[in-house]
């Protein structure tokens, strides 16, 4: 039993480290933006959601979701 738990923890640890390495080379869009770049950029500016200012358009987004209206993110 204890060996099993050790194996689970080891697998989780190695999978976690693998994902961190993967994120270093992972492109999040077709322009080749790296995930690490995205995370750093996001953390470096004032996040409107965090300070409670954004998503006033939540109801608009909600309506859009169910009306089938699409918006090109790029």
């Amino acid at each position: 039993m204890s060996d099993k738990k050790f194996v689970y923890a080891s697998i989780l640890l190695f999978a976690g480290i693998f994902l961190i390495f993967l994120s270093l080379n992972h492109d999040v869009d077709s322009h080749g933006t790296k995930e690490t770049f995205l995370v750093r950029t996001n953390g470096s500016v004032v996040c409107q959601s965090c300070i409670g200012l954004s998503d006033a358009n939540f109801f608009y987004n909600f309506k859009k979701l169910f009306s089938g209206e699409k918006e090109d993110k790029n």
Binding site: K5, G16, L19, I20, D29, E35, C47, C50, L53, N61
Partner: protein, 271 residues
């Protein structure tokens, strides 16, 4: 006392850029690429690193991608410490315990059995579903009291240009922050008990993580002294290393020396 020292050390370690409060802008250097396992807003001007919860929501919503970095970090930390990082590294955990410490109306309350599962709702709806449906960064936008306390209030107090954007979302978050602060002064670590999705994700590995609390059942006399010391309101005799346990070790310290039934560490025998 030792745990408080570690919490304070990590708090200072994560917040070296105090001078940024004057300008009301967050630090923008390379350290922001690193996620740290604790609830602390990356928009806090003093914060050096990134919040894994915020990162998960942002990458899902704005890049429609799997947030490998934040998930990988959480998996690695969970494998080694489980949710002990809530007890030792989380700045908002320290903030809650500080409010509880100075509170004139604190009570020792056991965790509420049904309400403890609310965390799943916050994780699934606000952290995963709302960004997935491109609605909002749900947890950051509507729930996170850490964001309001360490980023919203300090940034808005020095940047008047944001005032015109204040709407019901802002007032809701402010109300929620005040409610959380008052409630954690009454019930210890109430936010961790019922709301925090980060603690939930880390706690999923509690049963098998390397760092463990160990109980020797033949030594435990069931005196339940540890129950009154548990910050999560658990019954350590039955509930150590469970999903809600933050492995703080307060039960270990409180166990009467004549019994010495509890221990902690990486080499604690796995039971």
């Amino acid at each position: 006392m030792k745990r408080k020292f570690i919490q304070l050390t990590f708090f200072i370690f994560q917040n070296p850029f105090i001078h940024n409060f004057v300008a009301g802008r967050p630090y923008a250097g390379p350290l922001k690429t690193v996620c740290v396992p604790g609830l602390h807003c990356y928009s806090c001007p003093a914060m050096a690193f990134s919040c894994p919860l915020g990162t998960i929501q942002y990458v899902i919503k704005y890049a429609s991608a799997i947030p490998y970095l934040a998930i990988g970090t959480l998996m690695s930390v969970a494998a080694v410490f489980g949710s002990a990082s809530c007890a030792y590294f989380c700045p908002f955990g320290l903030i809650q315990e500080s409010f509880y410490g100075i509170s004139p109306w604190k009570k020792k309350i056991r965790i509420r059995k049904g309400v403890r599962h609310l965390k799943w709702g916050f994780l699934l709806i606000f952290v995963l579903l709302m960004p997935l449906l491109d609605l909002a960064q749900g947890f950051c936008a509507y729930i996170c009291p850490s964001g309001m306390l360490t980023a919203g209030i300090p940034i808005l107090s020095v940047n008047s240009e944001y005032f015109s954007s204040m709407d019901i979302t802002f007032y809701w978050k402010l109300f929620f922050l005040i409610a959380v602060i008052f409630y954690v002064m009454y019930e210890r670590r109430a936010f961790c008990r019922y709301i925090c999705p980060l603690g939930l994700m880390l706690g999923l590995a509690n049963r098998f993580s390397f760092y463990k609390i160990k109980i020797e059942k033949n030594r435990c006399k069931g005196c339940d002294v540890c129950v009154s010391f548990c910050p999560m309101g658990l019954e350590p005799r039955k509930e150590i290393n469970t999903l809600d346990c933050i492995k703080c070790g307060d039960c270990v310290d409180s166990c009467p020396t004549k019994f010495n039934a509890l221990s902690r560490g990486f080499n604690a025998k796995r039971n």
